[in-house]
């Protein structure tokens, strides 16, 4: 089990989500001799260089062939291997989408697909490398579990849980280097169980990935203005923790979802699909990336541009809260 301390959290933040994924899978592999990790020729870019050296027999670079990677992984899983496949978000979730549908969804093979650099952290590499629709695509496939860890500590937690989990999973890693930590001490993590980080009675924010930290920042700003704001880390987008949402419905004037993903099809959509069946639910503000392939820039610049930083999230919430109050 990983030990989360303020100093570890700082160090992981400097290393970034890819490097931490590499560390996490290296740490976990020790306990899982049947683990196989595959890459479609992006091993080094996925933080797997040390894994390759430490467990050469448990690593396979299948070449730049994501579709074949999913099929081969499924064959290995069928024969008892615990397989992690890795690539950049669009390549693994969309180039190989139908292979994931057949092998992971339909046949429920024990394969975890890890999307490196999802969201917009690929910055100047551009839209070809962004993962802005991956959660939407993966969430629509039956039997898929879709997880988006909030920070580097939670990447450890998710990798530990995924290694133990039997079945298909999509793990969406957002954030680059120096994303500030949400967690600086040990906590309990369970797939499918949201974590209430802060309680609030006016506004409740449901966030995942990098947006958990930004939502906490937004909450601080709003609290200073006398608005009571709760924040939930909905690290598992599917299956959605509906019990956690039920608790918020009656006690919020406004529900807010925030994600580093298109506003179409991700966490915001999942929450909206759930609450729309009830009478008298609060309005929902869906914050995320626009449905567009925009001009690109560095990661922080893009988060600012798309209003996905704490102060701007606070502004968006204030704007709508005035209208609904």
């Amino acid at each position: 089990m990983v030990d989360i301390t303020p100093s570890n959290a700082r160090q992981w933040s400097r290393l970034g989500s890819r490097g931490v994924f590499g560390q996490a899978i290296l740490a976990v592999a020790e306990n899982y001799p049947q683990m196989m990790v595959m890459s479609a020729d992006l091993g080094n870019s996925s933080g797997l260089d040390r894994f390759k050296k430490t467990y050469p027999d448990q690593f396979l670079n299948i070449g730049i062939a994501e579709q074949n990677m999913i099929g081969v992984a499924s064959g290995l899983a069928k024969e008892g291997y615990n397989v992690f496949v890795t690539s950049f978000a669009p390549f693994i979730s969309m180039r190989a989408a139908e292979q994931i549908r057949m092998n992971l969804g339909y046949m429920e093979m024990n394969v975890k697909a890890v999307a490196i650099g999802s969201g917009i952290s690929m910055a100047f590499l551009g839209n070809s490398h962004y993962g802005i629709e991956d959660a939407a695509v993966m969430r629509a496939i039956p039997n898929m579990t879709v997880v988006s860890p909030a920070d580097c500590a939670e990447i450890f937690k998710v990798v530990e849980a995924a290694a133990e989990f039997k079945g298909p999973m999509y793990i969406r890693l957002t954030g680059a280097v120096n994303n500030p930590p949400v967690y600086t001490e040990n906590y309990d993590f369970e797939i499918g169980k949201a974590i209430a980080l802060k309680e609030g009675s006016d506004v409740n924010i449901i966030a995942c990935g990098t947006m958990v930290y930004e939502s906490l920042e937004a909450a601080k700003i709003l609290e200073e203005q006398g608005i009571s704001v709760g924040v939930i880390n909905m690290h598992t987008i599917k299956p959605l923790d509906t019990e956690a949402i039920n608790k918020l419905i009656g006690k919020s004037k406004l529900l807010v979802t925030v994600e580093e993903h298109s506003v179409i099809g991700g966490l915001g959509s999942a929450v909206a699909e759930y609450i729309c069946q009830f009478k008298d639910t609060p309005p929902q503000l869906r914050l995320g990336l626009p449905d567009a392939f925009g001009k690109t820039g560095d990661y922080r610049y893009l988060l600012e541009k798309y209003d996905l930083v704490g102060p701007k999230i606070a502004n968006s919430i204030q704007g709508l809260l005035r209208e609904v109050s």
Binding site: A65, Q67, A73, G75, E79, G80
Partner: protein, 283 residues
């Protein structure tokens, strides 16, 4: 008249053809008869002679693995399973009825010895590569067999898998291609000509055989030839789509079609004429 070799396999192929015509007619729906009939000898050879399996224990670890990559070839697959006694007549006769386990494409069901779900073309070889790789890693002595259609070799993912099998030196993997030269919309040569398939595989490091896919001795010799270390094997089986029923042979109307009573009777009568025992054939 050509001497019949391996009469028990020829006999099984005949039973399979009758069986596939029966369920096609009985379900009253269109079925993929053409591609089922073209693979009959390949499947009969596998299930009558080659594959190691335990009818009483379909999950036996040591079983050879078979993947039907051309998923629409279920008539050739399920008829082999029933003829070999792997699945019961009762299960077989549920084909294409509501809630049946047996539909137009395989649905993974180890209790029925169906290893994988297929139907989306170009995916079975990748899984077979993974299974064969797992066998290598575990030192498990089973062999992995996969049957592909020629049409599905249009899919790029097939060639990703072909490359990887060569690279991974999977000499415990045998792929068979049902090269009947007709695909859904027409002649493969006109749609996407695959040309010399065996040499394409050879170029990727495979041990390739180019044979008549209806001749049992050629099939047996190719499958059972000594293994070439480090090379996966491919058997490019030149076949006739619709083989065994004259009005279906090389007639792509029977790629996916429904049998009328008249057609059914005609087809059954033709298949019944096939000689199966050596005395008859040599006489």
């Amino acid at each position: 008249m050509e001497k019949i070799t391996y009469p028990e396999i020829v006999d099984m192929a005949k039973v399979m053809r009758l069986k596939m015509l029966e369920i096609s007619y009985n379900c009253t729906l269109s079925t993929h008869l053409g591609g089922g009939l073209s693979m009959t000898e390949m499947m009969a050879t596998l299930y009558a002679r080659v594959l190691r399996f335990d009818k009483k224990d379909p999950r036996w670890e040591g079983r050879d693995r078979f993947i039907l990559s051309k998923g629409h070839g279920v008539l050739g697959y399920f008829s082999a399973l029933v003829a070999a006694g792997v699945i019961s007549e009762e299960v077989y006769n549920t084909f294409q009825t509501n809630e049946s386990d047996l539909i137009a494409h395989p649905v993974m069901n180890l209790d029925l010895s169906i290893e994988s779900s297929n139907g989306s073309l170009g995916q079975g070889l990748s899984m077979a590569v993974g299974i064969a790789l797992a066998a290598k890693k575990k030192n498990a002595p089973f062999t992995t067999y996969v049957l592909l259609g020629d049409g599905e070799c249009n899919e790029g993912s097939v060639w990703e898998a072909v490359m990887s099998a060569g690279q991974l030196r999977l000499d415990n993997l045998v792929a068979m291609v049902d090269y009947n030269k007709l695909q859904s919309d027409g002649a493969a040569g006109q749609i996407m000509d695959l040309g010399d398939l065996a040499n394409k595989f050879r170029a990727f490091g495979w041990d390739a055989y180019d044979i008549d896919g209806h001749q049992i001795d050629q099939l047996v010799n190719a499958i059972e030839a000594p293994e070439v270390e480090g090379k996966p094997r491919v058997i490019v089986a030149n076949t006739v789509k619709g083989k065994g029923v004259s009005f279906m042979e090389n007639n792509n109307e029977w790629h996916h079609n429904r049998l009328t009573k008249a057609n059914f009777d005609l087809a059954i009568a033709e298949v019944n004429l096939v000689a199966t025992n050596p005395g008859e054939a040599n006489g």
